[in-house]
């Protein structure tokens, strides 16, 4: 821990305590919502109104402002879930377990959105709703992995045991993440190659790139909002016999 500055360590130690986390996330929530709304408004205005239409794809390319950020989020959330699960497994931190399991439904939704928007875009562009190419198939498998995590968590009654089972499963599923990410580079498929995350120069014009990045950041904030809300409810459920939850309930009754 010698590499990490002291205040950061102290912050994480405080966050590992359920009452602190609950109070802190409550104070954080309005800020997150405001930032999310501002970013989404700016991103959508830039993407749907300011950005020019594509010379080949016309206006239908504009679905990327939902599709691409969702696809990024589907991978990002899985990695966060696996990391939080690993932290929960190693240090037995309750909150890491809760963050891991609260991420799963949000990640599954983003994966589903990425698949649906991709398919809606594929119909006019490729002439088909679905092709069994590497990127689409691996994204579909990612959805199944998320559903497996959610299903396993629901099947085990003791939630602490369930969290550990889910963490092991999520860690095993991580092998799929690089395969999805590099699938368009490894296999020459119908899905186009990456246009944004190239190191030298993105092959997308700035007026299209800026709204896309805005939307990507907005989606990160949305994930934080949705995940924190789930985590807070999960926390209350698990700690329902703890004194601080009883105090909270007593405050509500007054």
């Amino acid at each position: 821990m010698f590499l990490i500055p002291d205040p950061v360590v102290r912050f994480f130690h405080r966050m590992a305590s359920p009452p602190h986390f609950y109070a802190f996330s409550q104070r954080l929530m309005p800020w997150l919502v405001v930032i999310f709304l501002l970013l989404t408004a700016a991103g959508l205005y830039g993407g749907l109104y300011l950005a020019p239409s594509d010379y080949q794809q016309g206006d239908s390319y504009r679905i990327i402002y939902i599709h691409v950020p969702s696809a990024w989020m589907s991978l990002f959330i899985y990695v966060v879930m696996a990391l939080a699960g690993a932290i929960g497994l190693i240090w037995r931190i309750k909150l890491a377990e809760i963050v891991a399991i609260s991420s799963a439904p949000v990640g599954a939704s983003f994966t589903f959105i990425a698949l649906v928007t991709g398919s809606l875009w594929g119909k006019p562009m490729w002439g088909t709703w679905w092709v069994w190419d590497a990127r689409l198939t691996s994204e579909l498998i990612l959805l199944f992995l998320y559903l497996g995590v959610i299903g396993l968590y629901g099947a085990i009654d003791d939630k602490r045991t369930a969290s550990r089972a889910v963490a092991i499963l999520a860690l095993v599923g991580v092998v799929n993440i690089p395969v999805i990410h590099y699938s368009v580079e490894w296999w020459n498929t119908l899905h186009q190659g990456p246009t944004v995350t190239k190191m030298d120069k993105p092959s997308i014009h700035v007026s299209m790139l800026v709204p896309l990045l805005l939307m990507a950041v907005a989606f990160k904030f949305y994930y934080l909002i949705a995940m924190l809300q789930r985590a807070r409810i999960e926390l209350l459920l698990r700690e329902r016999n703890a004194q601080w939850v009883k105090n909270k309930v007593a405050e509500l009754k007054l």
Binding site: F144, L152, A155, L169, V172
Partner: protein, 224 residues
Amino acid sequence: MSLSRAFFAVIRRDLVLALRRRSEIANPLLFFILVITLFPLGIGAQPHLLQAIAPGIIWVSALLAAMLSLDSLFRSDFDDGSLEQLLLSPHPTSVLVLAKIIAHWLVTGLPLLIVAPLLAVFLGMPNHALGILLLTLLLGTPVLSLIGAIGVALTVGLRRGGMILSLLVLPLYVPVLIFAGNAVQMAGTGLPVDAQINILIAILLMALVLAPLPVAAALKMSVN
């Protein structure tokens, strides 16, 4: 007892147990044969169509047979408490678990290899693809047992683990299915398949080294 002796003792014990309960060997095998028989009946006896999809049929059936046989991997040991003894032994659990998985593969995976060529001939697969089919099954079915063991270890403590097991395990089986099915397909048309075979070998080695670790962790969680 040294680690290697414990390792072989576990394999021997599981093989003896399996030989005493022969239905556990026969059931996955019969299931495999039956599923493959269903395809020509469902699709219609069109030789060209069957020949074209034979690699897929055989591999999907092998996948389902492997998945159905998984439950016997830890079930009886979990029920009679010998799994706890295994976890309490001074040897690393992951090594002992690997022994159990190997024994399970010898009992349920290896018989598939013996009947697969016969069924492939029934489906009209060209003769020069049979060798590749056997090779992919030899490399692929151990991976199915190894990955499947993770799923069983996670669900062995649950009363209705069957459905959830397929949800956990089948997505992880997909890479093996893709590369193995593709290799047999390519071999049928006379193209080189070195790349797919190399990837399958890589997957097998990775699974051999890595899979026992989560299995051991999951068993400790399921038993406690």
